[in-house]
Amino acid sequence: MNRQDDRPVDPATGGGAHPTRRDAKDAARQDEIRLETAAETAGGEVPPPAVPATTAGLGVGPGAEAPLMQRIMTGNALVAFLSVVLSLILGGLLIAVTDQEVASASSYFFSRPQDTIAAAWTAASSAYIALFQGSVFNFEGDTFTRMIYPLTQTLTVATPLICAGLGVALAFRAGLFNIGAQGQILIGATFAGWVGFTLHLPVGIHLLLVILAGMVGGALWGGLVGLLKARTGAHEVILTIMFNYIATNLVLYFLSTPAFQRPGSTNPISPQLDATAVYPPLLGASFRLHWGFVVAVLATVFVWWLLNRSTVGFELRAVGANPSAARTAGVNVSKGYILAMAIAGALAGLAGVAQVSGTEKVLTSGVAASFGFDAITVALLGRSSPWGTFAAGILFGAFRAGGVAMQASTGTSIDIVLVVQSLIVLFIAAPPLVRALFRLPAPGATRAGKGGSSTSTTPTPASTGAAA
């Protein structure tokens, strides 16, 4: 970390609001060093050897200073894989138990048990095969385009998930639980959509303005939460949830006004976005995948840079690790909250742009689907690291895209995807449970005797209690 560079950057933005900062420069620097070590060992409450060993196993790299969330999610790649397998098994059991044929076969279970087992296997496996065919590779397709179409579908669905997931992850790293991605997507999409169908601008500039408007919309909606939290101390979980509902109603209201409603329509639907305002297709017109995916990749790179290579990101992580220590070290915690929520909102706004100008090309109140809520699980699964979120976004995109295909072909409700997704996050969050289920040795087995659960996960000093 280039600690020397911290100094000149901040007075410019902070306007020299902290005279104590220069006076206590040396003290602050000491604090900062302490903070960094604290971030690695959680204030000394965690045995240092256990944690870096496991994070290294995850391939997070030395750049990530083991943030709050990540430590909670600490496990190794094997645990992550087993969590996915376990969740799929449980989901399969659920599909099998509720299947009609299994039910009818189980009525004579004791005379011919193999019938029940065969029916259960058929029910679960056909659902999962449909899921795979709908999300990765359709081996029944007759042309190459048809075969890889599902994969591009997955990436299309993953695009808003990645963007919004990055927003949630970034807020997590600053110690904020941003449940409000849904509202931020909606407001971002509203801003972007309005620019898209009201202004008529040349190619290039128009799309750029649409993207910008979406980010501004999301940033305003998210930043407002940060502002309220910083100024009044209100809990961001409540605020973001309420802002989701307010956003939904607000968008419904906008869609009933002449400025937004499609001329001649009485339904809450906007006009089509201009051709200049939509993302061009990435792989030609036969696929729905659009340039929004590239924007999502760029956003991931940006968030990685912001968190791991910039002063602002360092301050945000400091606020997230321990707001009191950060304040002592001269970080403006209020500014950190507002900034984190604004950037998170802007990222969610990008997801809104991906929806309104990439996939839907029209603004409705359902433009955000449930991406804002899925984004939370995406960020949790990605352990709030940018590339982890990216990978989790693609996995959940595959689930969602495949789930639609599965519901269409086998009639299995797409809700099973929600079950599997949440189970994955639960299991990954509790590595000791997965290890116990599969009888894996705990890391640092010598310590495990003292109490298996407490060695690998840590208390969270600066989460909700301090926030309220």
Binding site: I241, A430, G465
Partner: protein
Amino acid sequence: MSTATTSAPARSASDATVRSWKNPIILSVVALFALFVFAVGAPGNDVTFRLSEENDPIVLPSIVVSAPVIGWVAALAMIVLAVLAILRTRSGRKIPVWVLAVFAVLFLIAFLTWVVGSARTPNVALYGLLAGSVTLAVPLIFGSLSGVLCERSGVVNIAIEGQLLFGAFAAAVAASLSGSAFVGLLAAAVAGVLVSLVLAVFSIWYVVNQVIVGVVLNVLVSGLTGFLFSAVLSEDSERWNSPPRLPVIDIPLLADIPVIGPILFQQTIVGYLMYIAVAVVYVALYHSRWGLRTRAVGEHPKAADTLGVNVNRMRFMNVLLAGVVAGIGGSFFTLVAVSGFGRDMTAGQGYIALAALIFGRWNPIGAFFAALLFGFATNLSNVLSLLGTPVPDQFLRMLPYVVTVFAVAGLVGRSRAPGASGIPYIKG
């Protein structure tokens, strides 16, 4: 523990600067808003508030008021209170609580008069408005009591939504299969405990972040009930999803009292349980050994541990108990409100219960009144959209959420969570 010691002075310092001018400014802005909208923009007609039906045993006369008169009187009184608040703050004293309370009541009266007066039919049944508010508040109150039990012992319960939804689901299925609504009530409590069990195991045994477990549990319950709904319930809804409703029990004579009779003495068993639960939780929390230990575990677990309280067992039991309470609250949706389960039918009520808990400052009585306020806001938006007001429908539906934001961020001031809420306890 270093967190606690360093944050205390910092927090009180920022408190002093934030608190001093926030309330007077908010009061002034609201008072001016009232002056321009409720007084200057008052409709010219009279407004009728009905207090009873024509065929009630006791018939009270309707209250008829003139909208401009009420608007002006209330707005001017609010301005006086705002000036009072400014003067108090300038002289460095605290604003008395009664000023805020009277201000809120005046605002409510002025708003009601204005909005009903501007409607197509300036005539509203006040008793129905109030009774409906209590009915809508029942699941919120159960939910926030569940939150009180959890958070007072130091476990953040975001999973209220999941507890309510699973309670609703279990109540519908069990009542349909058994044909008895009371079996459904029991099943709802068990379902709430199941959700609580997962929350407790993951957050207390496996020390997973409590907010994460809560959020994920809500998704899990939503997915699970949604899946079972489409795979089982809607396949044969006659068998699985047609629960009998809980009967309304009238208490003789008392139920005939105008206005408050239907609210207090004309409820289903869930409604009566709600009043009992609030009272029991309040008394137990502040006047029993269990309550003292619960609060100790939630405020300073180390101290409680030193004095021989088993912190994590205490938390575990409290979280399970909270599941019982929230589960019963969930049964309201399928056994009282409508007969039958619907996908995601709790529709975010669990989160509003969470807001009520914070607005009520982690106190059962406070949470009760906060939940009533949200019930009132929701019911008001329902009634008003029927009356045909000039306010767009979408804004009316926003009302409960906007009230929540103002409640959490605005007038109540900074509320303080139990000290150890959200922080797992690891002995040693």
